[in-house]
């Protein structure tokens, strides 16, 4: 049925291309290019995790770096404090992030509009400060990884970035497949219904508090997994690295740039923003501080004013335009 299959081929194509990307000889082979690709996939995944709640369900949270951070600390603690592999830590971190998200959002969802937004800012700042003084998790110094055996078991590599790329790819496939599955399921329709009109949704039998909490828990779970990957990639973590308003805003802005509430928006946003950020930093280094963010700031302003549907809106406009042209020709 058309309704069910639309976009399925596109998804497979994108997954396929990303799977063979590191095998293509040429400019993508260098370690820096690999690094950029890893970051694109990571931030696309993370933004998608945010998009599930913010885009599909309309609950705009500026607090997602908290869940990202909890996942990062989960993996970090497992490795640094307990000498385990990061896997159980990542899983536990994700579960804890879900629980924390439910505890936080149950009261916060009662708040409307700006009051909700500001509450999520406040929560990030609180978590940031608490982790700064929490001795058990390393306080302000954070956690530094010991040198241990590399490989998939410990999920860390020192020389090559290719396994990280495939790790990020696996994460990406997981998160985007989840999003796609949700998009085509009852819960996905209910999430969008709550976003577009809570009263109307409830009149049709949608338990909107439950839908919002479900979206929140899934979103926080996936965000924490992304955080776990992030710490394995950097081999260290401290509070400002993961739990900050700037980090939260990045997930939001990448999604807005790409297209809020669309499946491929977060990928598009990350594919534009992350290279911009990494290359401007590489070119200007410390001297030209902030050039990427100056451009990004302007880009956000222009997008919000001119194309509220983000780059996806632009893409569908172009596609529509070509289809119309073909129709005439």
């Amino acid at each position: 049925m058309r309704h069910r299959q639309s976009g399925f081929g596109l998804g497979c194509t994108i997954f396929g291309i990303l799977a063979i990307l590191p095998l293509i000889p040429g400019p993508l082979q260098g370690p820096f290019a690999k690094h950029v690709l890893v970051m694109v996939l990571l931030f696309a995944s993370m933004s998608q995790a945010w998009n599930l709640l913010g885009g599909y369900c309309g609950q705009v949270s500026f607090g997602h770096s908290v869940f990202f951070g909890i996942g990062a600390y989960g993996a970090g603690m497992a490795v640094v404090k307990y000498g385990l592999t990061p896997w159980p830590g990542a899983l536990l971190g994700a579960i804890i992030a879900s629980i924390v998200s439910l505890v936080i959002s149950y009261p916060c969802f009662r708040l409307k509009g700006h009051y909700f937004a500001i509450a999520t800012f406040a929560i990030v700042e609180i978590f940031n400060r608490l982790f700064m003084v929490w001795y058990w998790v390393g306080g302000a110094l954070g956690l530094d990884y010991p040198i241990i055996e590399e490989g998939w078991r410990n999920f860390m590599w020192y020389e090559t970035k290719t396994p990280y790329y495939y790790g990020a790819f696996a994460l990406f496939v997981l998160v985007f497949s989840t999003a796609r599955w949700i998009e085509r399921h009852r819960i996905g329709y209910y999430m969008r219904a709550v976003r577009d009109g809570q009263e109307a949704a409830e009149s049709l039998g949608v338990n909107s508090p439950q839908v919002k909490l479900t979206a929140m828990a899934i979103s926080a779970f996936l965000a924490a997994l992304c955080g776990a990957f992030f710490v394995q990639y950097n081999l260290r973590v401290d509070p400002p690295m993961v739990m900050s308003l700037d980090m939260s805003m990045r997930f939001v802005l990448i999604t807005i740039l790409g297209g809020l509430g669309t499946l491929w928006g977060p990928l598009l946003g990350a594919a534009v923003l992350i290279p911009l950020q990494e290359y401007t930093r590489a070119i200007w280094g410390g001297l030209g501080g902030g050039v990427d963010l100056i451009i990004f700031g302007l880009l956000i302003i222009v997008i919000v004013i001119r194309q509220p549907r983000g780059l996806m809106g632009f893409v569908s406009w172009v596609v529509g335009h070509r289809a119309r042209a073909r129709g005439r020709g």
């Binding site: 085509r184 399921h185 009149s203």
Partner: protein, 247 residues
């Protein structure tokens, strides 16, 4: 036992008595009309029944359960679904997806929900607009979408709040046929309507509100002849026209 029983329902907004001690029954399989001049308290009554407001006093019984003060989604799950007089389309979703949201109430998986949604879309003659964004429809179509969406939930009791307002003569006839078909499928209807020509010929019973109080209840024939109703609401001219229409 009636499908819906409203008992002594009272709703106050501050000092304003929007509904005062209203009681009536809606029999299973019937069409019950709810009429009254603007501001009589009809929408408020709907809001109390559907759970959007908690009534100040009184009881609402539906299908044997006391649903007073239940949240709207639980009322809907039990089978009493309403539409909104001030339409509330899910603006950024397509017409079809709007209906699909309704269909998911009884159909858990996508395939069967798609079928149900398709059915109610056709039933309400909206299939030409299926891929349009609901926010871009005209007001008349939005009203029809409200109906299609509510129908897709496969309700026991369908509560319509002025879905026929603003329709032209031909459209009105069509809409009346639609309601009769819905009834024929075994759905009970509680219909708030301002357009009485549309309601009188199809209703089994009419409840009349005025100033928040129930002033009459009975078959349409009696209602149009009731002195009190005429005085309060219909006016001579109207009631004569209605009698002509009925014969």
């Amino acid at each position: 036992m009636a499908l819906l029983e409203v008992r002594g329902l009272t709703m106050k907004f501050g000092s304003l008595l929007a509904n005062h001690d209203i009681s009536f029954d809606v029999e299973e399989g019937s069409i019950t009309g709810l009429i009254g001049p603007n501001g009589a308290g009809k929408t408020t009554l709907f809001n109390c029944i559907s759970g959007a407001y908690k009534p100040t006093a009184g009881k609402v019984l539906f299908a044997g359960s006391d649903i007073t003060g239940w949240p709207p989604y639980r009322v809907a799950r039990l089978g009493a679904v309403r539409t909104f007089q001030v339409v509330r389309p899910l603006n950024d979703m397509s017409v079809f997806d709007n209906v699909l949201v309704g269909a998911f109430l009884r159909e858990r998986d996508l395939t069967s929900a798609l079928d149900v949604a398709e059915c109610s879309l056709r039933f309400c003659h909206l299939e030409d607009y299926r891929d349009k964004l609901a926010g871009n429809l005209t007001i008349g179509l939005k009203k029809r979408l409200e109906l299609a969406r509510a129908l897709a939930t496969q309700p026991k009791l369908l509560m319509l709040d002025e879905v026929m307002a603003g329709l032209s003569g031909a459209e009105l006839k069509e809409a009346m046929e639609l309601l009769k078909e819905i009834k024929a499928q075994g759905v009970t209807l509680l219909v708030v309507e301002h357009v009485m020509e549309a309601l009188m010929p199809i209703a089994d019973k009419v409840v009349v509100l005025d100033g928040g109080v129930k002033i009459a209840e009975g078959p349409p024939r009696e209602i149009v002849e009731s002195e009190r109703v005429i005085a309060a609401y219909l006016g001579e001219k109207f009631s004569r026209r209605l009698k002509e229409l009925k014969t």
